[in-house]
Amino acid sequence: MIAAEMDLDTRFEGEPLEALAAAWSAEDLTLGQLARAISRYYTQSRLTLEGAARYLDAPPAELEALLGLAALDDEDLSRLSAANPPKTTWLFFADAETEEIEAGLLALNRDCPSDEIAAQRVYQAMREVGAPTLEDRVAAISGATLGHLATKAKQYGVLTPKARQFLVSVASRKKLGSPLTEKQLEWLKAILQELVDKEVICRESPDGDQAECDEVLAALGA
């Protein structure tokens, strides 16, 4: 649908770099048209993200957001085009599923206090309908599983004693219902990833603990 709205070949003629610059500065394009045109000529230009951003005098993050939006399916992108959301929401829409996009746009159109931050409103609405994040999923791994992994890591001779002790202590904290801090969550993620990399946690565990392994693999999205 987006592609049908304009003929990119005739609208921006010339070398990819010229076409890229022309598309970037065109003021009459919808968001969808802009995203698809930028994506097309950026790919043809063979520039890096930073190279293209320098050429266009644009922030790389804004370019990245547009490239992400261009990868959405036509229907989602059309809906976004019609709503023309603020740039500060683009990165979120670019990584969103249809359901999240719908929720984000609904939140955007709601009557809200004038001092409410649009990006925050959209993000919160998207999070409410979206799948749990990696952090949410890792934080939800049971204490029993983490305790088991501490024992298992010792038998495999992996992880430092400090990291194993950390797993034991997180397992106890979970039993008490204490939430993890951001730093603790980061460390836990790194430890679990190391266990996956070293095949201590795997799809076909020989150790009779497939349920625990699957719990962690699902949380890590591995």
Binding site: G51, P59, A65, L67, I117, A118, Q155
Partner: protein, 486 residues
């Protein structure tokens, strides 16, 4: 006046030799090494390992032992090469491995053995609690070897010959088979690749597959010695991980037969050089090579001198990659590998995946190891509690988006939207950039990103001079810190 005293070791010694730092997997590997030593020449070794909460067993179909050989094998410190003709590359030399391993695994063990030929099999059992009670006398070390007719009820089952080591009253509760599978697949990688097999609780041990640093695998083809009559061929590469388990170095082959695993004679072995993994074919070494001892072989001395020289750049690269997390930096890694390849005379390596760059605009960044495509997930949004307040009273709220960007070159950036009633400034932190992974203080990194976004916004959009913008940025940072930024 002098006196002859009884110098027999205390029976407690048998208990004490088990007090080692061996992991269960290490100890089983020791016993499996004996099974490889006893393999029948010309036939692939077949070794069964069983790990359960009550018992650990290692059973092979090797040559087995006669009663006399078994009697020597169970004595502490007997060099078995003086008792039996061992095949080239035999691993056991000091007569301690099996006993130490068994004592570290459990408090009771038995050896059943069935030699080739004959109708009998032999059994000997050690009970450490019984040994602890024995009086300190020469007789304390006496032990009975039982002989019995071969029977399928024996742990050796229907095997024609072989040896079974059974350990009970285990020191480790609920031992897992996984670490044993992993250890044996790594320690005996070369054997497994040659067709020998080890099965643990029904699962075959698979030779460990190493993940080498891209471009680090280089061929070895060296001719040396008198009239260049000696030749070493093979390869060496650098593992993406270091090894503190000893499973690195070179597997040495003679006429395609593995004669030694993980030899480390050609470089200073320590953690920083433990990425070195290689295979070399040295057909010139004598069949009695290991019995002669490495130092006595002239060919070995020649080979060692050549290999030491050849490996200098490789060990240097291993050390370089292990320093300062260089292994995680694709640009530094590429340079280290490039220098190594050039120094050993290998062809220049072209990364298989490169992002093309267009002249000067590209900034010259080539990604050798692009980060894995992250799972599709919303970037994280944080709202800064300190908005940017301009002189005219305009208040610009600030958000922080944490996004895994497609590029690893930009650590943080900004997005500004001023088409609405309330303009918004967003600092974008790239979680794919090294700064993010290396940062030990994420809140400070976020503050840095917001400070950068403010400075750039004020200069590029609000038209302030650099000094004015920096002053405003600094005020904001101070205010944020006073408010307890985290």
């Amino acid at each position: 006046m002098s006196r002859v005293v009884n110098n027999t070791p205390s029976p407690m010694l048998l208990q004490k030799i088990g007090a080692t730092n061996l992991t269960l997997a290490d100890a089983i590997a020791e016993i499996v090494a004996n099974s490889f030593d006893a393999a029948i020449e010309g036939s692939p070794a077949i070794i069964d390992v069983n790990v359960s909460a009550d018992e650990i067993s290692v059973i092979d179909s090797g040559t087995g032992m006669t009663e006399d050989i078994l009697a020597e094998a169970i004595r502490l410190g007997v060099d078995m090469s003086s008792v039996v003709k061992k095949r080239v590359g035999a691993k056991g030399h000091f007569g301690l491995g099996m006993k130490t391993a068994c004592a570290s695994i459990g408090k009771w063990w038995a050896v059943h053995t069935r030699p080739t030929g004959g109708n009998l099999e032999y059994r000997v059992a050690f009970d450490l609690e019984d040994w602890e009670r024995r009086p300190n006398s020469p007789e304390a070390w006496s032990i009975t070897i039982d002989d019995m007719p071969r029977s399928s009820d024996s742990p050796l089952g229907d095997r024609t010959s072989g040896t079974a080591v059974i350990v009970q009253r285990l020191r480790q509760r609920n031992p897992l088979p996984g670490p044993v599978l992993a250890k044996l697949g790594e320690a005996f990688k070369a054997h497994l690749e040659q067709g020998d097999s080890i099965v643990i609780n029904g699962d075959p041990a698979l030779p460990k597959q190493y993940r080498f640093v891209p471009g680090s695998k280089v061929p070895i083809d060296i001719q040396f010695g008198p009239n260049s009559s000696l030749r070493i061929t093979g390869w060496v590469a650098l593992d993406t991980q270091t090894h503190n388990d000893g499973n690195y170095g070179f597997n040495i082959y003679r006429h395609n037969q593995l004669v030694q695993t993980w030899n480390k004679d050609w470089f200073a072995a320590h953690l920083m050089t433990s990425r070195l993994i290689g295979e070399v074919h040295m057909d010139f070494i004598d069949a009695t090579f290991f019995k002669m001892g490495l130092q006595q072989s002239e060919e070995w001395r020649f080979a060692t001198a050549e290999m030491k020289e050849f490996l200098k750049p490789v060990t240097k690269a291993s050390q370089g990659l292990s320093k300062q997390k260089n292994i995680h930096n694709p640009i530094v890694s590429r340079d280290i590998i490039g220098e190594m390849r050039s120094s050993v005379g290998a062809e220049e390596w072209v990364p298989p995946t490169t992002i093309p760059v267009a002249g000067e605009l590209g900034g010259g960044v080539v990604m050798e190891n692009p980060p894995p495509t992250p799972e599709r997930e919303l970037p994280k949004l944080r709202v800064s509690f300190e908005a940017l307040v301009l002189e005219d009273g305009a208040r610009i709220p600030i958000t922080i988006a944490e996004k895994a960007m497609s590029s690893t070159a930009t650590p943080f950036d900004l997005i500004f939207d001023d088409f609405r009633e309330v303009p918004e400034l967003q600092a974008v932190v790239n979680t794919n950039h090294e700064l993010w992974s290396q940062s030990k203080d994420r809140p400070q990194l976020r503050m840095l990103a917001v400070g950068d976004a403010i400075l750039r916004y004020l200069m590029q959009t609000a038209g302030m001079s650099g000094n004015q913008a920096a002053e405003a940025r600094n005020e904001w940072i101070l205010a944020a810190m006073k408010e307890g930024w985290k």
